[in-house]
């Protein structure tokens, strides 16, 4: 009635630094400036953002690149419109004193990974490592107690948790080994994109500006983190700041330096061929159909990255 367009975003996880840019945009009123009424719906361990968006329960979703490809293979009509993480942070942790100094050293150890995570499959099938896997649901207690385990995780999250529990770890990302799909991909349904291109454009413009401010302005970050703790009271300030600090390495890198959220067809093609080689994708997928970067504004990453406030983590 008042001319605002309502947009619901479903996150890939509970609200945390990984979704900080969106909360910052909300916090700063950037969405309102574009006449968008944005609601952010938190995700959870098995919340399937792709189906929620495809079925019209939400307009926008956040997830990793592989899930967009898998969705299309299953006939779920969604399309990526931005990729916040240029480099994929997912990888594995090992105890510093475990003697494992490379992926090769991790052969025949048990890997604690999220079931269905394509990174571990890449290491097995493409890199030819043999190892057993064990389900990971979020607690690294087992890893901390057992030096021989290889723990999948994020340097922004698991590594910090381990450190706080008094365990020094080494981190190896799958990206280093050659598997580097985008992450924190913003997607929408083909139908919504076709019918509301302007809303998508506006949403991206506000969101990418939010990300720029969140990364480059400690004041905005402070306010946003406080908001994050409000909507997610179990989140702690130090964890947020730690992740805030670390994640910038993955966002403001490569094409992301000049344009936050940038996507290239090379990267999407690589992903499709890698997933096809892994046997995860069995149907032929046209990489160009997976993404549409024509609505993405050019918001560069901040030239200068401030330090996190003293004692924030």
């Amino acid at each position: 009635a008042d001319g605002t367009t309502d947009v619901k975003v479903v996150l890939g996880w509970y609200a945390n630094s990984e979704s900080g840019g969106f909360f910052a945009a909300e916090e700063e009123g950037l969405y309102a400036d574009k006449n968008l009424g944005v609601t952010i719906q938190q995700g959870g361990p098995t919340v399937s953002g792709t189906t929620i968006v495809a079925s019209g329960q939400a307009e926008m979703g956040i997830g990793d690149a592989a899930s967009v490809a898998l969705a299309q293979e299953q006939g779920i009509p969604i399309v990526a419109v931005a990729a916040v993480y240029q480099d994929n942070p997912v990888g594995v942790l090992v105890h510093k004193d475990s003697g494992m100094k490379s992926f090769a050293d991790m052969e025949n150890h048990t890997w604690v990974v999220q079931t269905g995570n394509t990174g571990a499959e890449y290491m097995q099938k493409d890199q030819g490592l043999t190892f057993k896997t064990q389900a990971y649901q979020g607690s690294i207690a087992n890893f901390l107690a057992d030096k021989d385990l290889v723990q999948q995780g994020w340097p922004t999250n698991e590594q910090y948790v381990a450190l706080k529990a008094g365990v020094e770890t080494d981190f190896f990302s799958y990206a280093e080994a050659g598997y580097n799909p985008y992450n924190d991909v913003v997607f929408t349904s083909e139908k919504y994109l076709k019918e509301n291109p302007q809303a998508v454009k506006d949403f991206l413009a506000a969101s990418m500006q939010g990300w720029a401010d969140y990364m480059g302005d400690v004041e905005v970050a402070t306010a946003t983190n406080e908001q994050l703790m409000k909507v997610n009271p179990e989140q702690t300030s130090d964890a947020l700041w730690y992740a805030w600090d670390k994640q910038r390495d993955f966002i403001a890198t490569g094409d992301g330096e000049a344009q936050i959220g940038a996507m290239s067809s090379e990267r999407w093609s690589t992903l499709v061929s890698q997933l096809t080689d892994l046997g995860v994708l069995t149907k032929e997928i046209e990489p160009a159909a997976l993404f549409d970067n024509s609505h993405l504004p050019t918001v560069p990453s901040p030239a200068e990255m401030p330090d996190a406030p003293a004692d924030s983590y």
Partner: protein, 289 residues
């Protein structure tokens, strides 16, 4: 006429019986003592063993926090965790109510029509065994993330114990009583509600007891899977987040809160059970009269 001896009281002076005429029931105080002391003793024992295990195996806090750690977490975190417990409680109650209604209805239908039992029961079993976690994402799509979905998950887990126990109870009615109703020309419906249901109350209530815990589990599983839809998260959310951040004491607090929620539900059922059965059913009567 025969020789009649009138009644001769015994020589021995009548001794006052040890327990004098029993009062209509044990006093409230005694009852409270009998029902409060044993669990409290068990609790203290449990706490001691808990602390001991930690000392002996030198377990780090993130593996098994001690009672003191948990207490500290509880006192700092009380606000948000109570809010989360409230959400879970709502979902569990809703799910429990839903399960009670539908489980009871299913059992009635199965008791009433034999053919329904043979046709329906296997599917009820199936329903119970459907790994909710697998289809909960679909629920989210259908009903949205949040209370409705989580309550539905809770109901799905809780419905079978109620249906199975109720059915077993309904089928165990004394057959002479059933025939009494038949002879009086009572329709099967009346027979069900006026005879079979009251006779099955003990079993129905046991089903509800089991369901009271099951529905809380269901609500939490729903929360794990379905996340929080805009609204506030319940205990499942608190547990997941604390697990990923390895805040084990906080996680234990959430676990304890979950148990508290189901104890509340359970206590409600147990109270109703006591009220309904105490006048006539074996399992609720005092041991001796």
């Amino acid at each position: 006429m025969t020789d009649l001896s009138t009644h001769q009281p015994t020589e021995t002076a009548p001794v006052k019986a040890a327990p004098p005429a029993p009062s209509p029931g044990p006093s409230r105080l005694v009852a409270a003592r009998r029902f409060v002391v044993p669990p409290v003793v068990a609790a203290v024992l449990g706490l001691a063993i808990w602390q001991l295990i930690i000392e002996i195996f030198a377990l780090p806090v993130y593996l098994l926090p001690g009672p003191a750690d948990v207490w500290a977490a509880l006192t700092t975190d009380a606000g948000p965790i109570l809010a989360a417990a409230k959400v879970t409680m709502q979902e569990a109650l809703l799910g429990f109510g839903l399960a009670a209604l539908s489980g009871f209805a299913a059992a009635l239908v199965m008791a009433r029509w034999n053919i329904a039992e043979r046709g329906l029961y296997p599917y009820l079993v199936l329903l119970q065994t459907v790994p909710i976690v697998a289809i909960a994402p679909l629920f989210v799509v259908w009903f949205g993330a949040g209370i409705t979905t989580n309550a539905l998950v809770a109901a799905m887990i809780a419905v079978f114990p109620i249906a199975a126990n109720t059915l077993q109870g309904l089928k165990s009615t004394d057959r002479n009583l059933v025939q009494l109703y038949r002879m009086a020309g009572a329709p099967e419906r009346v027979q069900l509600f006026s005879l079979r249901v009251p006779a099955a109350l003990p079993q129905i209530l046991t089903g509800l007891r089991i369901a009271s815990g099951a529905s809380v589990i269901g609500a939490i599983v729903g929360e794990f899977v379905a996340g929080i839809g805009g609204g506030e998260g319940g205990l499942g959310y608190v547990i997941t987040l604390n697990a990923t951040q390895l805040r084990t004491p906080e996680l234990f607090v959430a676990v304890l809160m979950a148990s508290a929620v189901s104890l509340i539900l359970f206590a409600i059922v147990a109270t109703i059970e006591g009220q309904l059965l105490k006048r006539w059913h074996e399992s609720a009567l005092p041991t001796e009269e």
